[in-house]
Symmetry: C2
Subunit: 365 residues, 2 copies
């Protein structure tokens, strides 16, 4: 079990970390048509056995008319459900992969890149994996519980009791924190991020209830449940959601066939008990970082190098428990220029191939 | 390229695999798995020329650190962008269709139904239409401007200046207002709504900034722009978004090849000038209502019958201006039992066929 102190420290660390958003060197991006016009057509058709969307979990709760927005009488809504969209490729399928985005973003993270190239969602499907992309509970199509906001509006609770709505922004949230460049508007010479589309990354940002106090992040159990319902899945997470699969596995590891953490905001190396580490050591894990880890983030909180070192410390504990964890900074493997948003970088399919090869070896074989 | 033979073999394989998948899915017994377990496999593969997502519009605005959620310094974000996901079928395409959801919902409205059947999004694609599904600006993956909330939280503005976050709820918002039944929990004997999945409709609801004052709804121009960027599209809207295409056409009708309004919340019959009516009369329009229009909504505001009559009044003005508007209540056409959410009703594909036939006749011919 996690102590209250651990939870609080974890929430704070998580709040400081994740990242989201955008950049814009280009100033006024003129034609609004750019976004559509940028889309690059596929070379070959995509053949799907099935596709669609559904929800995981959710609790029915009673709300007052004020909490609901004062349209009608007191009534019941559902909260804490997780939206999931999926594509299953035609033909024999490899392991299912669940993709989870970072702070103040949505499942859009894994779809078409800001400059119009194929994202990991479609690419993994084309590589024979059924893929399930979620919106984290607390934002986007998963929604959030608006009650606390409407109660403040009505004067029933005090403003300082209202949850914080986090939004990461262009210059510091993206350019420096996402390591597109050493300072806002200035890219690293070797950056793989499609710098000309940085202002389109900005559009992917949504308000995020990260700051709302909650005893346990409801995404942890939802992901554990989803993996179970899929009869086994690899959880692939990013940034804020990076450490979620660790918690999901501690709740119930049965459905979790593998864990891929892309630039996790934290590895919580010291937060877990030895018993928890013993559980985690049973699932193969792959943690992937990009380049320029020591570059200043421009935000409070740890550097990406410190986060990488935290994951090193976790690997040490997992190794000691005879687990199977791979930790890689792409620059160490001779791949230069990757940002925090490597699913959008120009070499995003090269990075995907690293992950696909690992899944082939550790899960599908 | 795939030969026809390959495609046929593939279809057969898909049908067999689908059966296997269904059997395996039905084997699961966890109650929480319902949402996934309900999904009905496709009879044949879906072959897409392309798919993906992008944004329309958006403005870059400067925000204070407090407005951003106090993680970093003052910075810039993008607001008022519209998220769009799309699928383009392989083969010769008919008219593009843009689908827009109603209040406190998202683009999920048009995807897999609450009881796991194919939604209009995929069905229209299978009927050779490229389809573009949006999240309205102000919710879901399009996000919203969180500044006013964070300023209230910080004590910089008064609580009553905070926007209202509307949420439609189960008993009155759905059962009576959506005309599943005459009172909460009691279905009409002939209802087409999948009553056993009513609780899953509840999960689609997200907070909606409807109550925020704005001089002009930013969705109007975004839809006009999107139709233009697509080099022509039919705008298909529902409920709250029902009347949006009228405003989009008045802004710029050039890209709007047809308008389909499914149970519009209003037709604003008296709101438009004669000059505006003359503009609207140039675009073919189809307005569709369901059954039980006089049943009490359980909420303040007009009944659905009054809304239908408002659309009748608009049709009178459009007819007088020599326009082409069809107005149909499905019950009048001998189709009984349709609710407000007819894209989710059991006969949702029958209703879709009515719309597809109209598009064939008025737009594609």
């Amino acid at each position: 079990m996690h102590s209250t102190e651990n939870m609080a420290a974890r929430s704070l660390r998580a709040a400081i970390l994740a990242g989201v958003m955008l950049a814009s060197v280009l100033g006024m991006s003129s034609a609004a048509a750019q976004e559509l016009r940028d889309i690059r057509p596929s070379d070959s058709p995509l053949v799907l056995k099935s596709r669609g969307s559904f929800f995981v979990g959710g609790e029915q709760v009673e709300k007052t008319a004020i909490e609901l927005g004062s349209l009608g009488p007191d009534d019941r809504i559902t909260i804490n459900q997780m939206y999931v969209e999926y594509m299953v490729p035609e033909g024999a399928a490899k392991a299912s992969v669940v993709m989870v985005h970072g702070a103040t973003l949505s499942g859009k993270t894994y779809d078409t890149t800001p400059d119009g190239r194929m994202g990991w969602y479609e690419y993994f499907v084309r590589k024979s994996h059924p893929v399930y992309v979620v919106d984290q509970i607390g934002r986007a199509r998963s929604g959030f519980d608006q009650s606390a906001f409407n109660n403040v509006r009505a004067g029933l609770t005090l403003p300082d009791q209202q949850p914080n709505l986090l939004r990461l922004a262009d210059r510091f949230g993206s350019w420096t924190n996402f390591r597109i460049g050493p300072q806002p508007g200035k890219a690293f010479p070797e950056t793989q991020f499609p710098v000309e589309a940085a202002d389109k990354l900005s559009k992917q940002s949504v308000p995020d209830l990260l700051g709302a106090s909650r005893a346990q992040n409801p995404n942890w159990k939802a992901l554990s449940d989803l993996a179970l319902h899929l009869n086994g899945a690899v959880l692939l997470t990013h940034s804020q959601s990076g450490p979620y699969p660790l918690e999901s596995a501690i709740i119930n590891a049965k459905g979790i066939r593998g864990i891929v953490m892309v630039e996790p905001g934290t590895c919580n190396a010291k937060a877990h008990t030895d018993d928890e580490i013993a559980i985690l050591a049973k699932t193969p894990m792959f943690i992937l970082f990009g380049d320029y880890l020591s570059s200043p983030t421009g935000l409070p909180g740890p550097s990406w190098e410190e986060r990488f070192n935290d994951c090193k410390a976790l690997k040490k504990r997992i190794d000691a428990a005879k687990g199977d964890m791979r930790l890689l900074a792409t620059a160490e493997a001779g791949i230069r220029g990757n940002s925090h948003m490597m699913m959008m970088d120009r070499n995003n399919l090269q990075i995907a191939d690293l992950i696909l090869a690992w899944i082939d070896e550790k899960v599908d074989r």
